[in-house]
Amino acid sequence: MRKLKFLGAMAAGLALFGAGCSFTPPGEKSVTEGSYVPKTADTSPIKIGWVGPLTGDAASVGKDALTAAQLAVEEVNAAGGINGRMLELVAEDGKCNPKDAATAGNKLINVDKVPAIVGTACSGEMMAIAPTAEQNKTIMVGYCASAPTVSAAGDYIFRTYPSDVLQSKFVAEYVYNTLGKKKVATLAVLGDWGTGLKNGFEQRFKELGGEVVSSQDYVQESRDLRTQLTKAKDSQPEILFFVGYTEASIAGLKQAKELGLNVSIIGGDAWDDTKIHANSFAEGIMYSVGAAPQYDLAWVEKLKQKGATTNVCVPRSYDNVKLLAEIMKRTGTDTAKIKDELYKVQGYQGIGGIVNMDSNGDNTSAQFQIKVVKNGKAEAAK
């Protein structure tokens, strides 16, 4: 009996361990790009870090974003690098979760000793790395992390992707004013991004005079949202605001259809992923995205040749490399100087839109738009 109890307790501990973390493969751990053999010592390559989800949730978004960053590095190097020194991108898998991102960040900061990290994609990743980066005076420039919490993450922490404070307001106003829906049900993935976007939306929607009839959450790994959706349906909303990453969203949208939740559905920027749009049950869904109205077509073509598509995180992953390269040409790798220069960025025209940094290291020039999925493709909503 005692042994049985022991075995049970041991295994329960294991179950908890497994529930907290996940056995994710170490695949694609370290990708170096543009490696260059220096002829003399002063032309040694400058390493910059990159963090985003290469496995796990949101991996389809992260992989394309990495390709874009690699493209930017190639272009910078082809144009002579940073005053003759080549850029070298050290990419780490943040897996869209705080635990793995912290490991990735620690490696870049303490082992590779990079002056700057292009990243991250997920807000949870950003918040996990930010304290270490701040302490070691390592620059971080987020390309997709949008949670409101990132604004106050530190002096060395920047992002070119607009904060969800702006996005959640924008969506709430669009739903209330443009669509004229007054009763909303919300469903969001638990975490910095999902919860932040949901809370911001609900707050603004209530201020406008709307009613939040149901507010549901789910954990990131869950693929069974049937009960959350059942509760949402029961509250008889006019529209569902559904914040989720690709994998759970595909499952959730399918389950919504199966459960007969026949209301409009509007989502967050992670839905700017063609993997979602191609499904029959995604027809008619709307989502907000913080991006330029139209990407440079020549750039889109270059990306396509590398096997990547333009999703929400791709343009700014590219832009951030270019922006850092431009600044480092003036400052070298001194991170205090890079930091000061980053705060001065005004009117920088990137693929993802204009960048105007404020005193929090946030991009204030937020351009949002609503896209709607029609015939399996996303297009701008009228």
């Binding site: 009996m1 109890k5 493969p25 992989k63 959450d217 789910y218 049937r226 009960t227 509760k231």
Partner: protein
Amino acid sequence: MEIASAAILPQLIVNGLIAGAMYSLTAAGFSLVYATNRFLNLAHGGIMMVGAYLVYTFFNLAGLNFYAASFLAVICTSLFGGFLFVSVYRPLRQKKAANMVMLIAAAGLAILLEALVTLIFGTDVKQLNFISVQEGWHIAGAIITPLQLVVMAVSAVLLVSFAVFMKYSSWGKLIRAVADNADLARTTGINPYAVQLWSFVIACAIASVAGILIGLERNIEPRMGLGFALVSFASTVVGGMGSLPGAILGSYLIGLAENVGQWILPSGYKEAIWLVMLFLFLLIRPSGIFGTEQGVRQTKL
């Protein structure tokens, strides 16, 4: 605290049954391996995931008929399972490896399978797209899709046939004999190795059926195995270690608890519900619902 209206209760119960049916498909095989081999095969979820990727390969990539693809996937997964048993678990057992070693080997195998599949197929979610998605059937105040009915039917057939098979068939008796005391079984002329191998292969066959059905219902990802392996484990604890019908009943209890529990609790607590349930069972009834308190089994652990 928001309490949802009672009108959704039938749907919540159905949601629980659907979840329970899916858990039971992996828990059944997990429990079968535990009953005969006496180790926790954490790689069982990984084998289920391999089954799902095989049907994706045969159906979506090779373009075979879905049923032919499924049949092939079940055969291949079973063979693959047999190979894993002969090449990993059996040699360890021959070296008298402790249960802890077996557990670590199984966890290692789970990571290896996930990494291999990621390497070959990439990390993004794959969809079988065999059944077109539409609103389910309205039955007794709840909505359920035909596929979900199939999943539940398969699970029910497994439950009944396991119970009958284990109790009455000569094979079932062999399995129970080996499960109770492998050394004693050997002295009566039973080959425990064959029984252990065959139950592992059968468990893998069931796992691949689970992989196909779960793939249809929830899509396919490299990470899908781990979560199911953990829930399978919790189900076997709740139902009773080594009891096959117990594992299936435990799956349904967990599925129902996490879904009906959301009637009262906020939905963010869904996963917490089954973990709390696991602890309660370990504290109050560690042998589970159908587990034996007394007898030979305890000394064999």
